[in-house]
C-alpha cells in the first residue's frame, strides 16, 4: 500500500513536472516592453508566464539599478510602483527617472532571476497618440467630384512640446471606409496637414500617430476620425474622368500619317524606283569569253557571223593560215617615218588593245567595230592553233610583195630588231590567246597580210604557245615546236643570202627557227660548216634550244635520221628516242602518227585539240 502510494505520487509528480517542463519556457516571466512616453517617466511590462488557473508559487519582482555619477549603486532596488501602469508592470515616475543614465532591471521569481535588461531612457521613447483630431473643408473641385480637407490635432498631453523638451513628428493615415489598405502620408512636424483629392460621395477614416523626432519608434495610433464630406451637387458631372481612348487613337493615327508622309517625301526617289522600276536598256551581245575559253568554235562563229567581213568558208578551207608576226614593242620602228609604218603600227596597237578589251566585256557596243576586229587577228599570229605549213609557201608567195616594200626600207634593223624581238616572243608566249580567234583571224590576216608583210620590221616574233620539252643541263629551256625564224629573216633576203643569214641567225640569240629554215641553212652550207655554225650557236647563251636544232645536230651525225627527218615533216612534238650525248638527242620521228591534213607542219605549233586528235 505504501509502495502504491509512493508510486502514485511519483507518477503524479513526474507528470506534473513533465507538464511543467514542457511549458517551462512559456511560464517564465519575460520583459515585453519598457517605454517612456514623454522623456520624463517610464514603465516596464512583462509577461506573467502563468497558465490559466495555475499560479506560480513565488511572485514576480522587479529590481532595478542605475548608475549615478560614474558609479553603480551596488544594491538593486525594487520597483516603486507595480500598479499605475497596469498588471505585470512597473512604473517609474519622474523622480525615479533620469535621462541619459543607464538602467538595468531584472525580473525575479521565487528569488531567481528570470530576465534582465539594460537601457537608457532616451532610447525607449514612444509618445502617446495625438488627441483632438478634427477636419475642415478646404475647397471643392470645379467638377464637384473631389474636395480637399485640412486635418488638425493636438499633441499628446503629457509630451512637453511647448517647452521644447521633446520634439514630435506625426504621421497621418487615411482610407475609405470600406477599404482595407491605409494610405500613408509623409511625416510632418506640424500638427495639421491637408489631405487632397477626396471624393465627395465617399466616407473616409483618418488617424494619426507620433514619434520622437530623434527616434524611429512610433507610438500608438490616435482614434479614428470619420470624415463625411458633403454630398455632391446634382449638377455635378456624373462621369468620372475616363481615359480618352478616342482622342488618343485619333491623334495617334494623325501622327503616324504625318510621319508616313514625311517619309515618303524624303524618300521620293527611292519609292519611285520601287514602284516604277526603270526599263532596262537592251544590251548588245558580244562574244562570251567563256565560249572562247572552251573553244566552241560553232558558237563563236555564229556570233561573229553578224560581222560582214567574216567568211567562214574561207576559214574552213584553209585551216593553216599564215600568221603574220607583228612586232609590238618595237619603238624603234616608229622612228621611221613612213606613213604605212605608222598606220600599221597604230593599227597593231589598237588591235592589241581591242583584243584585250574584247576579252573583258563582250557587251560593249561602242568598242565593237568590225573593221578593228579584223585587224585584231593580226596579232594572233603565233603558231598556236594552226601550224604554219603554208607559211613558208606563203612567205615565198609574198616575197615579191615584201621584197618590193622591203627594198624601200632599211633592212639592217632586221638584225638589230631580232634581239629585241626575242622579248616579245617570250612575252607573248605567255599570253593565252584564244585559238578560234586566231583561226578566224587567219583569213583576215590573209587579206591584210600583204600590208603586214610589207613591213619586215613589223614581223614580230610572237609565240603564243611553246611547249617546253626539256631543260638542258646548262639551264636552257628547250621548246618543242620549232617556229620559223623570228629573227626577222625577211623572205626577200632569204634565198640569196640564206647562208649568211643562217650564220647570222645562228649567232644571234634567238634559237627559234623552223626546220625548213634550218634545213636551208644546213643544206646550203657544207656539212662541216653547218655543224660549226650550229655549234657556236650552242656555245652562245641560247635561252631556248628547240628540238629542231638538236635534231639537226643529231641528224648531222646520223644522216639516216636526217634523211628521215628531211623527208617527213617532223612533228612538233616528238618523243626523244635516245640521248646520246649532252648535245645529242635522237628523236623518234615516227612515233607520232601524222594526221592527214592538219598536221603538215615543218614548224609551228600543234594545238591541244589537234594533239589530242593525234595522240589517242
Amino acid at each position: 500500500m505504501d509502495l502504491w502510494q509512493l508510486l502514485l505520487t511519483l507518477a503524479v509528480a513526474g507528470s506534473g513536472s513533465a507538464f511543467s517542463g514542457s511549458e517551462d519556457s512559456s511560464e517564465k516571466p519575460k520583459f515585453t516592453k519598457c517605454r517612456s512616453p514623454e522623456l520624463e517617466t517610464f514603465s516596464c511590462h512583462w509577461t506573467d508566464g502563468v497558465r490559466h488557473g495555475l499560479k506560480n508559487a513565488g511572485s514576480v519582482q522587479l529590481f532595478y539599478i542605475r548608475r549615478s555619477t560614474q558609479e553603480w549603486t551596488q544594491e538593486w532596488k525594487e520597483c516603486p510602483d507595480y500598479v499605475s501602469a497596469g498588471e505585470n508592470s512597473c512604473y517609474f515616475n519622474s523622480s525615479y527617472t533620469s535621462i541619459w543614465i543607464p538602467y538595468c532591471i531584472k525580473l525575479t521569481s521565487n528569488g531567481g532571476t528570470v530576465d534582465q535588461k539594460c537601457f537608457s531612457v532616451e532610447e525607449i521613447v514612444q509618445p502617446d497618440p495625438p488627441i483632438g483630431l478634427n477636419w475642415t473643408l478646404l475647397n471643392i473641385s470645379l467638377t464637384g467630384i473631389h474636395a480637399d480637407i485640412q486635418v488638425r490635432w493636438e499633441p499628446p498631453p503629457n509630451a512637453d512640446v511647448q517647452k521644447g523638451w521633446i520634439v514630435l513628428k506625426y504621421e497621418l493615415q487615411y482610407k475609405e471606409v470600406n477599404e482595407s489598405q491605409w494610405k500613408m502620408m509623409d511625416p510632418v512636424l506640424s500638427t495639421s496637414v491637408p489631405v487632397y483629392s477626396l471624393r465627395l460621395d465617399k466616407e473616409y477614416e483618418v488617424r494619426v500617430r507620433s514619434r520622437q523626432r530623434n527616434s524611429e519608434k512610433y507610438g500608438e495610433f490616435s482614434e479614428v476620425l470619420y470624415v463625411t464630406l458633403p454630398q455632391m451637387s446634382p449638377f455635378a458631372c456624373e462621369e468620372d474622368f475616363q481615359f480618352p481612348w478616342f482622342l488618343i487613337i485619333i491623334f495617334g493615327i494623325f501622327g503616324l500619317t504625318m510621319i508616313l508622309f514625311l517619309f515618303i517625301f524624303s524618300k521620293q526617289q527611292r519609292i519611285k524606283m520601287l514602284i516604277l522600276p526603270p526599263v532596262p536598256v537592251p544590251k548588245i551581245k558580244g562574244i562570251d569569253p567563256d565560249l572562247l575559253k572552251e573553244g566552241k568554235l560553232e558558237e563563236v562563229n555564229t556570233i561573229l557571223a553578224i560581222h560582214d567581213n567574216y567568211k567562214p568558208e574561207f576559214y574552213n578551207d584553209d585551216s593553216w593560215v599564215e600568221f603574220i608576226e607583228l612586232d609590238i614593242d618595237d619603238l624603234d620602228e616608229k622612228t621611221e617615218g613612213s606613213d604605212t609604218d605608222r598606220l600599221l603600227s597604230n593599227d597593231h596597237e589598237k588591235s592589241l588593245n581591242i583584243l584585250g578589251a574584247k576579252d573583258d566585256d563582250s557587251g560593249r557596243t561602242s568598242c565593237y567595230e568590225p573593221d578593228i576586229l579584223e585587224t585584231d587577228f593580226n596579232a594572233s599570229d603565233v603558231c598556236d592553233g594552226t601550224s604554219e605549213v603554208a607559211q613558208p609557201q606563203r612567205l615565198k608567195g609574198e616575197v615579191d610583195l615584201l621584197c618590193l616594200d622591203q627594198k624601200n626600207q632599211n633592212n639592217s634593223p632586221s638584225t638589230d630588231t631580232t634581239p629585241t624581238t626575242q622579248q616579245p616572243s617570250i612575252i607573248l608566249a605567255k599570253e593565252n590567246k584564244p585559238r578560234p580567234l586566231l583561226i578566224s583571224g587567219t583569213e583576215s590576216t590573209q587579206q591584210a597580210a600583204h600590208t603586214q608583210l610589207s613591213n619586215p620590221s613589223s614581223l614580230a616574233n610572237i609565240d603564243f604557245y611553246a611547249q617546253v620539252s626539256d631543260i638542258t643541263p646548262a639551264g636552257s629551256v628547250v621548246l618543242s615546236p620549232g617556229q620559223k625564224n623570228k629573227a626577222g629573216i625577211s623572205p626577200c633576203d632569204m634565198p640569196p643570202e640564206v647562208a649568211s643569214l643562217c650564220q647570222a641567225n645562228f649567232i644571234m640569240d634567238n634559237a627559234y627557227f623552223c626546220e625548213a629554215d634550218a634545213k636551208k641553212c644546213i643544206t646550203v652550207a657544207p656539212h662541216v660548216e653547218a655543224e660549226s655554225r650550229v655549234e657556236p650557236s650552242f656555245n652562245q647563251e641560247d635561252i631556248y634550244i628547240t628540238t629542231e636544232s638538236l635534231t639537226t645536230t643529231a641528224g648531222q651525225s646520223g644522216t639516216t635520221e636526217r634523211a628521215v627527218s628531211s623527208e617527213m615533216p617532223v612533228p612538233d612534238y616528238t618523243s626523244i628516242h635516245i640521248i646520246q650525248s649532252p648535245r645529242g638527242l635522237v628523236l623518234n620521228a615516227t612515233a607520232l602518227p601524222l594526221p592527214d591534213k592538219e598536221f603538215l607542219s615543218s614548224c609551228g605549233y600543234v594545238s591541244t585539240d589537234q594533239l589530242n586528235k593525234i595522240m589517242p
Partner: protein, 230 residues
C-alpha cells in the same frame, strides 16, 4: 540649326550647374553666411543662430545614431556588449541636468556653458575615432563617412555655440573647461574583442551625448527665442 543646338547645350549646362550648386549648398547644413567674412558690425539674429544650432545638433544626433546602429549590426552582434556596456562616458564627470526639472532649473548661461564643455570634450575623441576607424579591418564606409561628417559638424556647432554665448552673454568668457578623454589606448588594443568593445563604448557615448546636446538646445531655443512657447 547649329546656334539652336549650342544654345540648348548652354542652357542645359547652366541648369546642371545650378542644380549642382544647389545640392552642394543644401548639403552643407546651415552654412548660409548671412554675415560676409570680414564684416565688423554684422549681427545674425539670435533666432537664426539658434535655428542653425538646432539643425546642426539634430543632424549630428541622427548621424551618430546611424553610426551606432551600423556598428552594432556589424561587429557587436552576439557579443553581449550591451550588458557590459553600461559604461562610463568621459563626459559623465560634467554635471549635466539629468531630467526636465533639473534642466528647467538651471540657468541658461550655465546650460550654454555646459553645452560648450561637452562639445569641446568631444573634439579629441572624434578626431581619433576617424583615424582609428580608417585603420579598422575592412573599414566600413558607412561608419567612416559618418565619423568624418560628425567631426566636422561638431566643430561647426562649437563655433555656433560660441557665437550664441557671445550674444547671450557678451563679455563673460569662462575658462575652457572640458573633460579629457583617455580612451585612445583601448581603441588601439591588439585584442580585437577589447578593441571592439572600446569602439562600441565610444559610439554609445557619442549617441547619448549628441542626444543630450540636442535636447538642451531645443529647450534653450524655446526658452530664449520663443519664450517657452514653441
Amino acid at each position: 540649326m547649329d546656334n539652336k543646338g549650342w544654345s540648348l547645350k548652354a542652357g542645359s549646362l547652366l541648369l546642371l550647374l545650378l542644380l549642382v550648386s544647389d545640392l552642394l549648398l543644401c548639403q552643407s547644413v546651415a552654412s548660409l553666411p548671412i554675415c560676409p567674412s570680414g564684416a565688423v558690425n554684422c549681427q545674425v539674429s539670435l533666432r537664426d543662430l539658434f535655428d542653425r544650432a538646432v539643425i546642426l545638433s539634430h543632424y549630428i544626433h541622427n548621424l551618430s545614431s546611424e553610426m551606432f546602429n551600423e556598428f552594432d549590426k556589424r561587429y557587436a552582434q552576439g557579443r553581449g556588449f550591451i550588458t557590459k556596456a553600461i559604461n562610463s562616458c568621459h563626459t559623465s564627470s560634467l554635471s549635466t541636468p539629468e531630467d526636465k526639472e533639473q534642466a528647467q532649473q538651471i540657468h541658461h548661461e550655465d546650460l550654454l556653458n555646459l553645452i560648450l564643455r561637452v562639445l569641446r570634450s568631444w573634439n579629441d575623441p572624434l578626431y581619433h575615432l576617424v583615424t582609428e576607424v580608417r585603420g579598422m579591418q575592412e573599414a566600413p564606409d558607412a561608419i567612416l563617412s559618418r565619423a568624418i561628417e560628425i567631426e566636422e559638424q561638431n566643430r561647426r556647432l562649437l563655433e555656433g555655440m560660441e557665437k550664441i554665448v557671445g550674444q547671450v552673454h557678451p563679455g563673460i568668457r569662462e575658462n575652457e573647461v572640458y573633460s579629457v578623454w583617455s580612451g585612445l589606448p583601448s581603441l588601439q588594443m591588439a585584442d580585437e574583442d577589447t578593441r571592439l568593445f572600446a569602439f562600441y563604448n565610444l559610439l554609445h557615448c557619442l549617441r547619448r551625448d549628441s542626444h543630450k546636446i540636442d535636447n538642451y538646445l531645443k529647450l534653450l531655443k524655446c526658452r530664449i527665442v520663443y519664450d517657452s512657447n514653441c
